[in-house]
Subunit: 111 residues, 2 copies
DNA sequence: GCGACATATGCCTGTCAAGGCATGTACGGT
DNA sequence: ACCGTACATGCCTTGACAGGCATATGTCGC
């Protein structure tokens, strides 16, 4: 099963999100866009590691970057996350009805 | 429901969902619980492969199994998916608020 | 218990991703 | 032009994991 002849295939959002550090990067970027250096200090991870994760995130379309002086400012792009949400949506129906019933029950107990 | 409550389960769920075949298994189980054999024929994957994926899914709490005669019937468990949804929720606001803003704009343009 | 069926597991191999370290590249200030 | 800052990339090692194949476990009907 070799993909070598087809060239590099960009990883899908699920694969990219499997990495805890990458989710931490996104969690950090969700509050505010930031430079690589800020991510390094905030997350306590080495700079090359952050840059590599950012590359993976960028190639999967989960973040984009703009250049500001010597820094590169990264921000979240939501489209791949929408795709994940789209996959999750039909599953959400499996528990929302149950939760709604629970909420109605709690509301009736707690005025 | 607090995000911290999901905690440890979350990381595992993301890793488990990174595998396309496992997502296909869940997609199949979402419509109806089923035996291993049914999954094998429906997905066109070898039986050991399916069993291994089911083990990973089971250990992550994403599915549960009951024994019926010689078969084992697998069904989806939603809690780890709720954890994923819990992680995704704050991001969802990133685009729903944009959409809301867009809708308000369009509404103001359209008398 | 025996044979047939359904599923789980063990072993092996190839693939690939992650992090440490060193180095390359781009930009700005002086 | 030089130096320092900010970031990217290349190489290397380690470890995880998926799938194929063979085999073990478990369950039923007889």
């Amino acid at each position: 099963m070799s993909l070598a002849e087809y060239g590099r295939v960009t990883a899908d959002a699920f694969t990219v999100l499997a990495e805890p550090t990458r989710r931490r990067i996104l969690d950090r970027l969700r509050r505010a866009e930031s430079s690589v250096g800020e991510l390094v200090t905030d997350l306590g991870v080495s700079q090359p590691t952050v840059s590599k994760h950012l590359r993976v995130l960028r190639e999967a379309g989960l973040v984009s970057s703009r250049t500001a002086a010597q820094q590169r400012i990264y921000r979240i792009e939501v489209r791949p996350l929408q795709a994940v949400d789209g996959w999750l949506a039909p599953y959400r129906r499996l528990w929302t009805s149950h939760l709604d019933a629970l909420e109605r029950h709690l509301d009736s107990q707690e005025p």
